[in-house]
């Protein structure tokens, strides 16, 4: 127990140590996170009226970000599967970074859901009157928190073993790794099921949403990790091989192509049928009754996704610069498409036929930026700690001069 506490203490200490760039980065993130906290306090005092959400469009930027981030978290499995299932060892060293990303991102997801509550003071009612298994929301609560615990356990155990300078016992983490792989698929499926089960929301009421969620997650997630790994190898001494990045590129290629194919299926079904249910899709892609706030967004997203797919299938994306461009395009494209492009149109037009548009307020945007900053802060700390620990530079033995018992 004492040794575990020294481990935690060393980690805390380490997260404050770094060069000026590290300090600057952390300061900026802290400031943005605190600004977000301030905006959230405003919301807490005045109610959700500080957001742009209305009765008509009752979910907005918060749930949009939440949906996107669940995908990002699920994508950690995309690093784990090649290593543990296919014994592709290119990615072995970076698996922990993927899982730490999952931990940080799931924390962000939980924050996004919490800030969306109209009465956060009652959030604990979830423990006392949990409507499981009838409400899909309770499934999501279990899926997300379970995934958080699984990844916390795996990363925490591996890091702690490295700190103690001993070989991790396979029985303590390999079973959890396999559970986490299945769980990763489940978090995104369950999140999709949150939306698809409503007869009253034809835009979501489609079986293709869950597979599309997975496809886009397995594109945006590795894209994010490719960029992160390059930053890690630039600013730390941790070695990340190009092979690892190219394995991720291959995953992205397949996922992006599937994502675009499924989008095509969806668009065809909606528009060729041309029933009354097409109204939401028409609002999203072309505007409805002169209201077209989302139109430029969604076409940007489609352009970005097509361009990213095109770049990824070209041999040119074996050059890191091209690959990075494709990654950024995919991340932004999918963020738009799966966030605002998925959540908002389902509410437009309303069941009564009104076309009410949603525009996020500054307060709402600040809360979102704050949560993103907090997530990045967490992830930076995680990487800051795990690089020296995994490299064996920070061990119990080195700190206290005695072999860990």
């Amino acid at each position: 127990m004492k040794r575990y506490l020294t481990f935690v203490w060393d980690c805390v200490r380490l997260s404050f140590v770094g060069d000026w760039r590290y300090h600057l980065w952390m300061t900026i993130l802290t400031v943005v996170a605190l600004l977000g906290l301030y905006a959230y306090c405003q919301q807490l005092v005045h109610g959700l009226v500080t957001t742009g959400m209305t009765d008509q469009v009752s979910w907005g930027l918060y749930i949009a970000n939440f949906t996107y981030l669940v995908g990002l978290a699920a994508a950690a499995a995309m690093l784990v599967i090649p290593v543990y299932v296919y014994r592709n060892m290119h990615l072995h060293d970076v698996v922990v970074f993927g899982e730490l990303l999952a931990v940080a991102v799931i924390t962000m997801c939980l924050l996004f859901v919490t800030v969306d509550l109209g009465r956060p003071d009652r959030a604990l009612h979830l423990f006392r009157r949990f409507n499981f298994p009838i409400s899909m929301l309770t499934w999501d609560v279990i899926a997300l928190n379970g995934y958080l615990l699984l990844n916390l356990h795996i990363c925490g155990y591996l890091l702690y073993c490295a700190y103690c300078g001993r070989q991790p016992a396979r029985a303590f983490y390999v079973p959890f790794v396999f559970i986490a792989i299945v769980w990763a698929v489940s978090i995104h499926t369950v999140t999709a099921f949150l939306y698809v089960g409503f007869g009253g929301r034809p835009f979501w009421n489609s079986a293709i949403i869950a597979p599309r969620f997975l496809a886009s997650a397995f594109a945006a997630g590795p894209a994010f990790i490719v960029l992160t790994l390059q930053i890690v190898r630039r600013v730390t001494r941790h070695r990340v091989t190009d092979d690892a990045l190219f394995t991720l590129r291959r995953i992205m290629q397949v996922a992006m192509i599937i994502n675009i194919f499924l989008l095509g299926c969806e668009v065809f079904t909606e528009f060729y049928t041309d029933s009354a249910h097409v109204a939401s899709a028409r609002y999203l892609y072309f505007g409805l009754h002169g209201r077209s706030a989302l139109v430029p967004w969604i076409w940007t997203a489609i352009a970005f996704n097509l361009l990213a797919t095109f770049l990824l299938v070209l041999p040119a994306s074996r050059a890191l610069r091209t690959l990075n461009t494709a990654c950024v395009l995919a991340i932004v494209g999918i963020w738009i498409e799966k966030g605002m492009g998925l959540i908002v149109p389902a509410f437009v037009p309303t069941p009564l036929g009104e076309v009410v548009e949603y525009f996020p307020t500054w307060g709402e945007i600040m809360v979102c930026l704050g949560i993103w900053a907090f997530g990045l802060l967490l992830y930076t700390i995680f990487v800051r700690i795990s690089v020296p620990v995994l490299a064996g530079e920070l061990t119990y033995e080195k700190r206290y001069g005695v072999q860990a018992p």
């Binding site: 009765d55 008509q56 979910w59 109209g118 006392r128 009157r129 929301l137």
Partner: protein, 300 residues
């Protein structure tokens, strides 16, 4: 990192006790519970008797419904089956029901339980308007109830779907589930926010009108939003004015309807006006293909 036996037993006992307590809570929650009635268990009570019908004149439908209401309220809740019948041929689109409801339930801006949907039909000069008042449909199979993560909403035995403001966490999942848009969320708006400011930017009427913080009587309780209390932040919906029924009053939208286009009553009472209307007219419901089986019927 070794643990002696005493320590092991102690931590084991602690973990076990915690687990047992948690399991007990979960089990208790799953046990069959009596139907909760937020308006109290007392249903049979002395209601003021409406005046008898004047012979020779057609009786006002409100008086008849009032009489039937007293009869229905004398029965236990599970023997009543409330329905609303709306005669669109008589609706003139005056929105008196919408406003009456806002006044009765002290609804803040943005929260409307019973809007009147106005549709324009035809092309000039052959145009006409169609009005569809839309209260909560009080579905027999409400999509909004199962989705609630904290069991804060349920269907009462008399067919009214209610929300417990003290339980609702404000996730707005039920708003998403309702195919009629009949659920609203109280986002915390006030009529006087930013309104009571003169052209020169000075406040004219103070920060907030005193009427904004008056308690309503939904579910026969006093709810006051002052100080961020419920129902601020909660999901809110039409509840057929349960609190008025309890004291012998018809729902506000029925009473304020100037065209006598809205009818309310108990279909378990075969003699009631609503039973009669449903038997003699070709009634329809909104979005029947959603399988929700609404308890609000329209005559067009």
């Amino acid at each position: 990192m070794s643990m002696d036996r005493r320590e092991f037993l102690r931590s084991g006992a602690l973990a076990g006790a915690g687990l047992a307590a948690a399991a007990g809570l979960v089990v208790r929650d799953r046990l069959r519970q009596e139907a909760r009635d937020p308006t109290g268990s007392e249903t049979a009570r002395q209601l003021p008797a409406p005046p008898p019908a004047v012979s020779g004149l057609a009786e006002d439908s409100l008086l008849r419904m009032q009489r039937e209401l007293a009869r229905a309220m004398a029965k236990p809740a599970e023997q009543r089956r409330w329905v609303m019948v709306i005669d669109q041929r008589k609706c003139v689109g005056c929105h008196a029901c919408t406003i009456g409801c806002v006044a009765e339930n002290k609804l803040p801006p943005g929260v409307v339980y019973r809007p009147v949907v106005t549709e324009e039909r035809g092309a000039f000069p052959n145009v006409h308007l169609k009005f569809t008042p839309r209260p909560c449909m009080q579905c027999e199979r409400p999509p909004c109830v199962p989705v609630c993560p904290v069991k804060a909403t349920w269907r009462r035995p008399d067919g009214v779907t209610v929300v417990d403001y003290d339980r609702c966490i404000g996730c707005r999942y039920c708003l998403t589930a309702c195919p009629y848009g009949a659920r609203t969320s109280d986002f915390g708006e006030y009529y006087t926010d930013g309104a009571a400011v003169g052209a020169d930017g000075r406040a004219v009427a103070g920060p907030r009108g005193p009427w904004e913080d008056q308690a309503n009587h939904e579910y026969a309780k006093r709810w006051n939003r002052a100080g961020r209390a419920s129902p601020l932040g909660n999901a809110r919906k039409c509840h057929f004015c349960l609190h008025r029924l309890e004291v012998g009053g018809l729902p506000m939208c029925v009473t304020t309807c100037i065209g006598r286009a809205t009818f309310f009553g108990d279909t378990n009472d075969a003699e009631s006006l609503v039973s009669e209307l449903m038997a003699t007219h070709n009634v329809y419901t909104l979005l029947p293909h959603k399988g929700t089986q609404p308890r609000v019927f329209y005559v067009a």
